[in-house]
Every structure is written in structure tokens, then in C-alpha cells.
Subunit: 410 residues, 2 copies
């Protein structure tokens, strides 16, 4: 018995004027989504807790059955794993932006004029020259202006403040310890040293001089944020004695899954954007079900268009996903496997940010309590047989179907 868990990022929404008072899911013509609702049992899900807006990282921790309140250890680690760095216990990892700062170190552009991935790679290579006492810095560029920094050494702490404060017009600050410990103080100093040395190397880098000559913004600073360490948890594979695989475009989602013991399946053209190779991801998911007990399929596009505040486009993306996953539902039905369709959080397309409203969820599979829900949307699913559940309960509910949850008591 096997499960495919489809998470459409930020798909939950609210009643929207642009869609005549419907949510994008309600407005969408999404026959496969509705077939899932009709075949299965439906409900709504507080991914973290009622009214609590989840981050992408904590949301997935919860959906994979981990308690984000006790088992979250910062975003950086997931980014590093997603970027392919083999993180070790003790490492402290940061998300980074290449940014443009002026002579007074005031941030002009947090994305350095959106430098290309190729340019970022050249600059990242130059940062390899940085030496820090005691600690080894590992810097990798990922997509466009984005990168990851790992500090590897003894006595480091993730309790240090962000350098990137998500604002322009402010001077890049010094990292501060967020707790009263020698480790946090030491890590702050080391991080400051890295940022300062990176600043010098980048300021004088020929690539940046070329960019300035062309009238482009130089990528003359690295701004780390989101310090994180490997979460100290049992892998999902061990917890439930299953083989688990993850298919995702975005590095973060791969990173969370990897940190929790999923194997990562890379799909060519899976970009984590609206132009992703959805067909490829679906084909790989079907194939993965031959080997794995649990296949996590992450689709980012719904969140992207939500952040763009485009409810009409969100409706279209929903229709595109519904159509794209049809072969997967067909396969699951033919094999009598389980399929779960849900979202990791609500991103109201009139707000453009994560919010704490519950998300719809439907579970198809042998002998699930088929309810009367006929449409997959926030309001229809609320009347379904699952009522209102918590994100952290989902995996246990699924493992219960697989007969994997040990009896409590006798």
C-alpha cells in the first residue's frame, strides 16, 4: 500500500471580489481536483494551528508529522541541504542574497539587480578564498542572486541575528547574538568577519567592475539570514519504517524533505516556477511509487501567483495542476493506492502573503470514508468527513491507513 502526497504551495485562499466572491479553488474548473474530493474523504487542516501563518519550512515540518514548535531549528539548514551541501551536525547554515550596497554600506538593492545564476557562480567561487580562524566557510550560489553560507567548526550556534533585514535604505548591520551564550557570541563575530571579507572581495571583483561599466548594479555584498542547524529528529523513514521520496522544484522543499529522511528525486525541468515541467514531475512520481511507500510531490506555482496578487491567474494555475495530475490519479486509482491533495498554507491572492487560514485536504484510497463532498475547495471540504484536523496529524492519519501506527495500550 502506497501514498502520494500532493502539496500545492499556498493554494488555500479566501473569498475574492475578483472572482465574484469565490475562492480561486471554488472558481476553478478543475475536474480532477473535484474527482479527488468525490472519491475521497475531505476536510480542512490547520497546518500549524488555527490562525497561525506558517512559514514554508515549518509548514512542511508539520505536514511531515513533526512538531514545528519543538523541532524547528531555522531555515538555513534546509536551504543548504536543498543546494546539495552535505550538512553535518554542528554546522550553522544561512540563506544569503547577493546585494548592492553603496560606499556607506547602505543597501541599495537586495537582489543586486537580479544578477544571473552564472554571474553568481563566478562571485561565489571568488569567496572560496575567505579564510576564518577555526571555522571553515562554505559558500554556494543557487538561483540568480540567492546562495547559501555554511559555517563549519566547533562551538557554533544558530542563535544569531539576520544581516539581511529585508529592507533597502538601511546600513548593513552587525550580527548580534540572540541568546546569552559564548557560542552565539562567537558565531556572530565569525559571521561578521565573513560578511566583511566578502564585501572586500566583491567590491574589487572584475565582474562587478564590468557590471558598473555597463550601468548595472554591482553584487558587492553578501547578506546572510535565517541561521539554521540540522534538526535533531528521527528520519521519517525510520519513524514509520517506510521508504520516502520527494519531488520538488524549489531547493527549500528538497532541503526540508532531505533533512527528514526523504530521498530526493530530481526531475529535469522542475523549476519551482509556473514554467515547471509538471508532466515530468507527475511521470517521475508515478515511477517513484514503484519503489517508495510515500512520495511527496510539491508544486510551487499556486504560491507564486498568490504572492503576485493574481487570483485569476491562480484559478488558471489550479486548472493547469488539476489537469496535469490526472495521470497520477488514474494510476493511484488503478493500483488502489492512496492519494492526498492539500496545501501547505493559505496565501490569499488579495493579500499576497502567507496567512493562518486552514487549507483544504482530501484523501483518496481503499476504504477511506467516502463523504458527500463533490468539489475540492475551502468551503466544500469543510463539510467533509475529516472535519478540521491539524497538519502534524496528517502523517499519522496516513500511516494509520497503512497499518503502521502501533497500538497504544492493549
Amino acid at each position: 500500500m502506497k501514498i502520494v502526497l500532493i502539496v500545492c504551495d499556498g493554494m488555500g485562499d479566501r473569498s475574492t471580489k475578483a472572482l465574484n466572491g469565490l475562492t480561486p479553488l471554488q472558481a476553478a474548473n478543475a475536474p480532477t481536483f473535484n474527482r479527488i474530493a468525490s472519491l475521497g474523504e475531505c476536510g480542512i487542516m490547520d497546518v500549524i494551528s488555527p490562525g497561525q501563518p506558517p512559514g514554508s519550512d515549518t509548514a512542511h515540518l508539520a505536514i511531515f508529522g513533526y512538531d514545528p514548535y519543538t523541532q524547528y531549528s531555522g531555515r538555513g539548514a534546509y536551504e543548504a541541504l536543498g543546494a546539495g551541501i552535505e550538512l553535518r551536525p554542528g554546522d550553522v547554515a544561512f540563506r544569503c542574497n547577493f546585494a548592492t550596497v553603496n560606499n556607506e554600506d547602505i543597501v541599495i538593492d537586495r537582489r543586486a539587480g537580479r544578477i544571473t545564476s552564472d554571474e553568481a557562480k563566478i562571485l561565489a567561487d571568488a569567496l572560496k578564498d575567505i579564510k576564518l580562524e577555526d571555522v571553515e566557510p562554505i559558500f554556494v550560489s543557487t538561483t540568480e542572486h540567492r546562495g547559501v553560507l555554511v559555517l563549519r567548526g566547533e562551538r557554533l550556534s544558530r542563535m544569531v541575528s539576520d544581516i539581511d533585514v529585508h529592507e533597502v535604505g538601511v546600513k548593513i548591520g552587525k550580527p548580534k547574538p540572540l541568546e546569552d551564550s559564548k557560542e552565539a557570541e562567537r558565531t556572530s563575530k565569525i559571521l561578521e568577519e565573513f560578511v566583511s571579507k566578502a564585501r572586500k572581495i566583491l567590491e574589487n571583483h572584475p565582474l562587478n567592475k564590468e557590471r558598473i561599466a555597463k550601468g548595472l548594479l554591482p553584487a558587492n555584498a553578501v547578506l546572510p539570514r535565517g541561521a539554521g542547524t540540522l534538526p535533531n529528529v528521527k528520519p521519517i523513514s525510520e519513524l514509520w519504517d517506510i521508504r520516502a521520496a520527494a519531488i520538488a522544484g524549489g531547493a527549500l522543499y528538497k532541503g526540508v524533505a532531505k533533512a527528514l529522511g526523504f530521498d530526493i528525486i530530481n526531475v529535469p525541468g522542475a523549476t519551482g516556477t509556473v514554467n515547471t515541467n509538471l508532466k515530468g514531475k507527475v511521470d517521475y512520481a508515478i515511477n517513484a511509487l514503484k519503489t517508495y511507500d510515500l512520495v511527496f510531490l510539491h508544486i510551487k506555482a499556486t504560491d507564486t501567483v498568490s504572492h503576485d496578487k493574481n487570483p485569476v491567474k491562480k484559478k488558471e494555475v489550479i486548472e493547469w495542476i488539476s489537469s496535469g495530475i490526472t495521470p497520477l490519479l488514474d494510476f493511484v486509482e488503478a493500483q488502489d493506492y492512496y492519494l492526498v491533495l492539500t496545501a501547505d498554507h493559505t496565501t490569499p491572492s488579495e493579500v499576497g502573503e502567507h496567512r493562518g487560514d486552514p487549507v483544504p485536504v482530501a484523501i483518496v484510497g481503499p476504504n477511506v470514508r467516502k463523504d458527500w463532498t463533490e468539489r475540492f475547495d475551502e468551503i466544500s471540504c469543510a463539510r467533509g468527513g475529516l472535519c478540521r484536523i491539524r497538519g502534524a496529524d496528517l502523517i499519522r492519519i496516513l500511516m494509520n491507513y497503512l497499518g503502521k501506527v502501533p497500538l497504544f495500550g492493549e
Copy 2:
């Protein structure tokens, strides 16, 4: 964006024979209540937890987003604040009744023949003469036979037993420490001293001699109960960075709100009874929305008629409230604000006491997930888009709509 939170006390009920098997809400002709259900998202709410009958104090703690299991510190403090006493940290406050006891100190009437508020005030003034070593007693009469005692001094504890045991025919007991601490023991002794000194003053008071001469019961004893201290919590205004105001007739509700950082708006004629100035309260609520982000409007009458075991009268009170709040709903709709309609607990009108059944809840406002609920009652709302929530989650759900809940994770 602003919110008005309407709490009709004890409005939740059960299927009732006197109403042909309907609940009072189901039986009522309450078009504005039903308009709220139709416009909004509905659900049912376990104010504390499923099956747990809430007190009026713990219910409101929960509805305001505080955990009653860890943040409740006794009723007395709320009564004292509601009576206008500026309570200080360390003070221990008690609800009190003027009562009639016989020569053997056996309670004959817990309400001293329901003496008038004016009489109670005269007696309360006489109690000002009481001196206690180390500790300052503050006694204030409130409505009819009711009053509040505050013990102000060092090393006091709220862990002392009630003197009023809600029974007649029993001797007034001595207060006992409820925990093994010097503070609780000391407070018990001081309380005993106060009760004993009050007993002597009242026995000999001319007003009581007059009452006896007229054949009325004398108010010759004070019976404290419900020791409480100020809750050690962050005010709601600080927690969520909002301006919050409360409109209520009953002192308790004002007291709870004040303890949690609400400003209290006093409305002439707001009595906390079925004869309250509902129009005035609604007018003041509309006005308060100009200044405040969250306006709490408490209406007591539904509970009063429930305690009187009068389901037919309860239906009528519901119709009266529904009609009375119409201008408030009109205003909220025009302004695109949020309106919440709910109850603080179920008081079944065939039982006449608080019970632990969930209460209906509806939230109207911009972009809430409008569901198919068309009537505001316990059964219709249970099929709504909110499903079943907890009282302590309500404020976070509302603050999520205001965009006031910080992201957890990234």
C-alpha cells in the same frame, strides 16, 4: 480594519421540549442573526474544551485568547476591577455576599433578604473601621447584597478556601489554606479576622436593628469567596498591538476585560439584566469602532433567562438582541469591518446551569470564506466553514484576518 466581538452570555442551548425539540436559537425569529450567518463563515466553538462547563471568568479569558488552564488566577480580582477598585499586584480580592446568620452563625439567607444597594453601601461604609495588622482591607458594595473585599499587603496568597459555601443551614466556616505555604496560612487567618470583625460591626449596626424591627432579615455577616489575584499576563493591546475596548453591564465582564488590557466604556443604563439599555450599548459600540480596533460587546440577558429555566423567554430575548444589534451589523457591513457573534458558554434552559456543550460562532468580514450556513444556531453553524474550533483560538483567527499574527518560520 476593525472587529466587533458580540458575546451573548449563555446563549448556547440544547434541543428543548418546550420549543418542539428546537433550541431557542433555532426557534427564534432572528433575521439579523441569520443575516450574520449568511454573510459569514460559521462553526461551533468549545470555549474551554469539549464537555467542559466554563465559568463566566474562564470563558472570557479563553475567548480573549488566554489559556484558562494556566492563566486563570481566581474570580475575585475580576470582580474587584469591575467594581472600580484599582487592584495592585499582590492584592488578594474576594467576591462577597451580605448574608443573614443566626446566633449560632448558621446561614439563614445568603442574600440577607436581598437588601438594596443603598443599604449595602451604608453597611460597607461601616466596615471601613476594620483594622487588621499589616494588611489593609478594602470593602466595596456593588449591586444589592453583593460586594468585593480586597486584602492589600505583603505575603498574601489566593490559595484560601471560600467562606460562602453556597448553602444555607450550615455554620459559617473558617477559611483554610489550600496549599502548604506560610502565605496561604497567613491569608486564612487575616480573612478570618476580617469576617469576625465584620460580623460584630454588622450585628450591632442600627440599620440591621431597623430591619429586624420591620420584620426583615438583617445583613449581619459578610461571606467572601473566589479569592483571586491579578492575572500575570500581557495585555491584549500589547500582545497584538491593538486598541481594545469593552462594553458590558455586569461588573465581572468589565473586570475580566480590564484585567486583560481593554479600556472600559461605561454606557448609561447598561445593567447586565434583561432591562439593559441595548440600544445605548449598540450606539456606543458603533462609536467605539471609530477609535478602537477591537470592541467587545457583552450581552447578559440570554444567560439570565437560561438560569431562570425559561426557554420561551430565551427565544424572545434572542429575537430582541437580533433586532437590537441590526444597526451594528449595518455599520460593520458599510465599513467592511469584521463582526463576530458567539456565546461564552451553553446554559441549557431546561437545566438552568452552565454546561460544556459548544456554542455557535459566526465571523462576518472582508474575504472570510462565506459558507452555505443561512441560520445562526447550534446545528446550522456546525456545518459551516469553521467546523469546530476552540475558544482560545478565536482571537488568533481574528488577528490573522487583521494581518497581526507574525509568521512562524520563513
